[in-house]
Symmetry: C2
Subunit: 282 residues, 2 copies
DNA sequence: CGAATAGTGTCTGTGAGACATTATCGT
DNA sequence: ACGATAATGTCTCACAGACACTATTCG
């Protein structure tokens, strides 16, 4: 039994005769928020290394937003899925494959790109900075890691991006409700397009997810001390945690490697690694 | 100071001269999962009414998937934001405005539509069935509400859709991991395109969100008893809850209206309404 | 030993889950 | 009184938060 439509066509006939309409169509892009952790060796050797959350940005070499910093991304090919486009962009930007990749949100305001109608699906990637080489792509003058800090201030939130090598600071004040927030730039340097909002969405998602999933380990090296792991959590969450409680919560997720830290001027911590049996779905 | 690019153009000049490329572009659509609650008056008058979660489906009157049931949706206009497209579709389908609307996920597999490349952003809407009139749209023969049940079975999950008026059953067995699941149809009737996956994503999101947000009240009439509210939670979550615990959890979110149920053959329950001060961001 | 960090024990309050008990309506 | 549901009380357990204490390394 073959179903026929109002014009008497079967599905095969219909598809063979199908002509897509001539309606104008938006361009579709993927934008990648790439997060990593940087270990900042402290000047004072008696102290342990600080950990910072970082995001990969590129400096635009074309209009619009010429010379401004932006989230890496690019157009989705017509015969490539959204996820594949994201994986390809990530490979082009970082040289890495098989990374953690999660779709975040799709941005569809009409004039978000002044050139033309562009709809962009944003993805969040978590990488281990140790096995990575960021390089500038086609549309970029430069690529660089910026530290991220999101802190509570008297009148809302303060989002700070900073690159120490280039001495670039990009700050925004986030006003109104935490949902659907508005970002007021506080510096001459600003992010291109609506990329602050995308970054904020990604950071919020990451903050929420590390509370109930083993996502952090995607950012960590193979082996790490619990103190380092705690500092990574603190960098992402933007607040201090209590050591004893943190260790109780994290204990079931990690395994003792039997090795110890070395070369530090204080009691060395034990090295742990992720207990893979908790990978369920991540 | 006006920045000039490699060709010596300012941003204004660049944008004036800009010609979008002739690359083929995907079509972009929005698909709407519309949830509502149906109150099923029990045959036995001594018993209280059951509550069921329902989803609005349309029956396709065109190829592909001719005559099959599908999630309502449509193309995004070139000068219309994604959110506006979703609001428009919802108005066309339900006649309602200002409903709860939340973006879910964007589906970008290459051949998800056999006609052409279509990227679809899915939205979830929650409506109160009392102030609503569903009607068939342009691409639909018919529109109807289907009850949804998602239950644990021995070998995975069972997703059941049922419309009693038309006596249509659409069932899927959901295998493999709960993340990235595969759906095996169990009936001749099936959902069009990748719409099972979209529906499953929406249901999962709803289940998660009602645990920690006051989302349910978007599905409820102005006034309701706590027993009804509990049955709605149970219909959405697919499991029974303990009355005493449920009431303790929900107590801060509702206000006593002072009125009581009437016309029931048992002790009448008090009518409550949502305590709007908890609307924060929803 | 002192400085710094590693690592553990324990008390508190909160909230979910399970279960028992009392109250109120119509017939 | 009975059947049905409404509404509340209380016990337990798990867990987060706060804090105090002991242990180990280097110099």
């Amino acid at each position: 039994m073959e179903l026929r439509d109002e014009k008497g066509l079967t599905e095969t006939e219909f598809l063979a005769a199908y002509q897509p309409g001539i309606y104008p169509r938006p361009s579709v892009t993927v934008d990648m928020i790439v997060f990593a952790i940087d270990s900042l060796a402290n000047a004072n050797l008696r102290k342990s290394a600080d950990q910072e959350l970082e995001v990969l940005l590129i400096q635009r070499k074309n209009h619009p937003f010429l010379h401004q910093w932006a989230i890496p991304g690019g157009f989705v090919d017509i015969d490539e899925s959204l996820d594949d486009a994201a994986k390809r962009e990530l490979r082009e930007e970082t040289g890495l494959e098989n990374l953690y990749l999660e779709q975040l949100y799709t941005w569809g305001a009409v004039h978000r790109d002044p050139r033309m109608r562009v709809i962009s699906t944003s993805y969040m990637a978590l990488v281990n900075k140790e096995d990575l080489t960021a390089k500038a792509g086609d549309d970029a003058m430069d690529a660089a890691w910026f530290s991220i800090r999101l802190t509570e201030k008297q009148d809302g939130l303060l989002l700070q991006l900073y690159n120490s090598e280039k001495d670039i600071t990009i700050r925004y004040q986030c006003v109104s409700s935490p949902v659907d927030p508005v970002f007021l730039p506080l510096d001459a340097q600003m992010l291109a397009f609506d990329h602050v909002q995308i970054l904020y969405t990604a950071l919020t998602r990451l903050r929420n997810k590390i509370e109930y999933t083993p996502l952090v380990f995607r950012l960590m090296p193979e082996e790490f001390t619990l103190s380092t792991l705690q500092k990574v959590y603190e960098a992402i969450l933007g607040r201090k945690l209590l050591k004893a409680n943190f260790r109780k919560k994290i204990a079931p997720l990690v395994l003792d490697t039997g090795r110890k830290e070395s070369g530090v001027n204080y009691r060395p911590g034990k090295y742990y690694r992720f207990n893979d049996q908790y990978t369920t779905g991540f």
